[in-house]
Amino acid sequence: MHRYGPVPRSLVAIGAACALVLTVGPTRGVATPAAPAAHNGRIAYSVGPILPEPDLSGASQVFTVNPDGSDVRQLTHVAAPDQAGDPNYSPDGTRIAYVSNAGGTFQIWTMRADGTGQRQLITDPGHDAFVPRWAPDGKHLVYTRCTSPFGFAECTIAIVGRDGHGVHDITGGHWVDFDARYSPDGRTIAFSSNREGLLAAIWRMAPDGGGLRRLTGPDLEAFWPDYAPDGAHVLFTSNFERPISQIYTMTPNGKRVTQLTSFTDQSGDFASYSPDGRQVVLDFNGALAVMNADGSGIHTIVSPDNLVLADWGPRS
């Protein structure tokens, strides 16, 4: 029992949930050059602890479902104990990126939205890949690239072309940088990190790694950022009320931090916006749940009783 400190709490919240409020949407008078409003399609999700912490021992598969909970389809069928999970729709909704260790280490895979054509996108010896997210132009993906020198986890934010070429790190420094997303205009990447000795905070940078800046304070223990489709807000999960996780929003500059949920005995976490920006899909104590973008009206879609990582696809 003589490690030099207790195991730092993982970036991953395992916890509880309920509902809340704040308006997302057109802010003030200035018109954001918003992309044409996308319509909500199916929700892709995985069931299982497919993140480096705290546990990679459970099974995980990728599914899709209609937002009303109907027509559940299992897209991956990796043999246990291998895992597949954390799906992300391409901007046009025709493809899904996900991670799987069916090829040995955790790497990015892609498939068509119906689950056909599964292939491993990159081979990257000595590294594991997590949290793949498409760039708005669909030409490449940003992801979390981890190594474990001498048993100490270190992760960078990396980019890879959609053809699997051109892997390169855009962060460094021996920290755990994690769960990156592009802003809708493609000019910014938000991610979470333990930089500066914090348990977790959300940072942003340019896609080349420049202009690195922390957006959230230490207390929030913020992670899993997601930009609203109009770019006006960033959604994130906070472990501030440990062991309960809550969903927050802020502006892309880290201003107007607003708590959306007030869960009391359950946790909500790993939240992301629907394509039309009006709803949020999240893990609600091991269930796939949907709520309004103001935090109200949370309801469960599927209840697998395991960590759910979900992404809401566009209607194609």
Binding site: H2, Y4, G5, F150, G197
Partner: protein
Amino acid sequence: MTTVLRFRRRLAVVLALAVTAALVPSGPARASHPVRDGKIAIGSSSDAKIYSLNPDGSDFRELADGYTPDWSPDGRRIAFEVDDATGDHIYTMAADGTDQRPVFADQPGYRDDIPRYAPDGRIVFARCHDEQPEGCALYSVRLDGTGLTAITEFKDGIFDYWQAVAPDGRIAFARFNAGGIQAQVYVANADGSHPQAITDPALLATVPNWSPDGARVTFGSNCCRLGGNVYTVSPRGTHLRQLTHTTYPLNSSDPAYSPSGTRIAFTSNRNHPDRCCTDLYVMSADGTHQTLVLTGLTDVGHVAWGRQP
């Protein structure tokens, strides 16, 4: 108990001499003997044993099964921790490893780690709970196991650990996970009041240790990560100095001032690019003259430097 009485008698004598010296303006004042650096005690996690040796590596001896040794202020005894099937227990022993005595049995469900002698003869230790609510808080207890007193408050998810007691009783310790910060060194009064963080969160500071005059705190950086180094800082968090410059992914850590305050012992794996092994080093208190001390061990940790009795 005998130890406490003996220590208190010694203290009384020293105080009396000091008072006498103060009252008598001139004369060859022999108020206190100069403190001489004695043996270094080290722990080895890989074989769970405590050893002692001279600072030049001579007279290396195995003392006991256990962890985290700390010297009594008079250099005659060592407090340490014994982990067995029933938990982590605090013991003391004579400097040669004989006369091992438990201070008290653990409270069920808790483990008691890192005993440190306080100047009043009590033992300050970290009591941890591993189930929810999980955490560690600092307590003190008399050597006969009575008078258990809380120093820091137990809070879910917060770990107060690696405490060190200054000669005037102030306590430096590492606090983990408070306010979203992974690790910081704090300094508090002997009763735990007025805890102040003295290190920048980015330093990931842990394992603090006091200079004998109470004017500096040395600590290891990059807790739980690769590439840590030994620093010193004032107890108010000013005048930070980096003493070692070990490069990533190697570490230097576990610093302990010598009782004279002129040297610091520490551990490092700098000679082992594969991080296989951690050695004992001694340097001057300003970071110069860093010297490897051969021990024959592959995993030196938990350094404490005693005075010559």
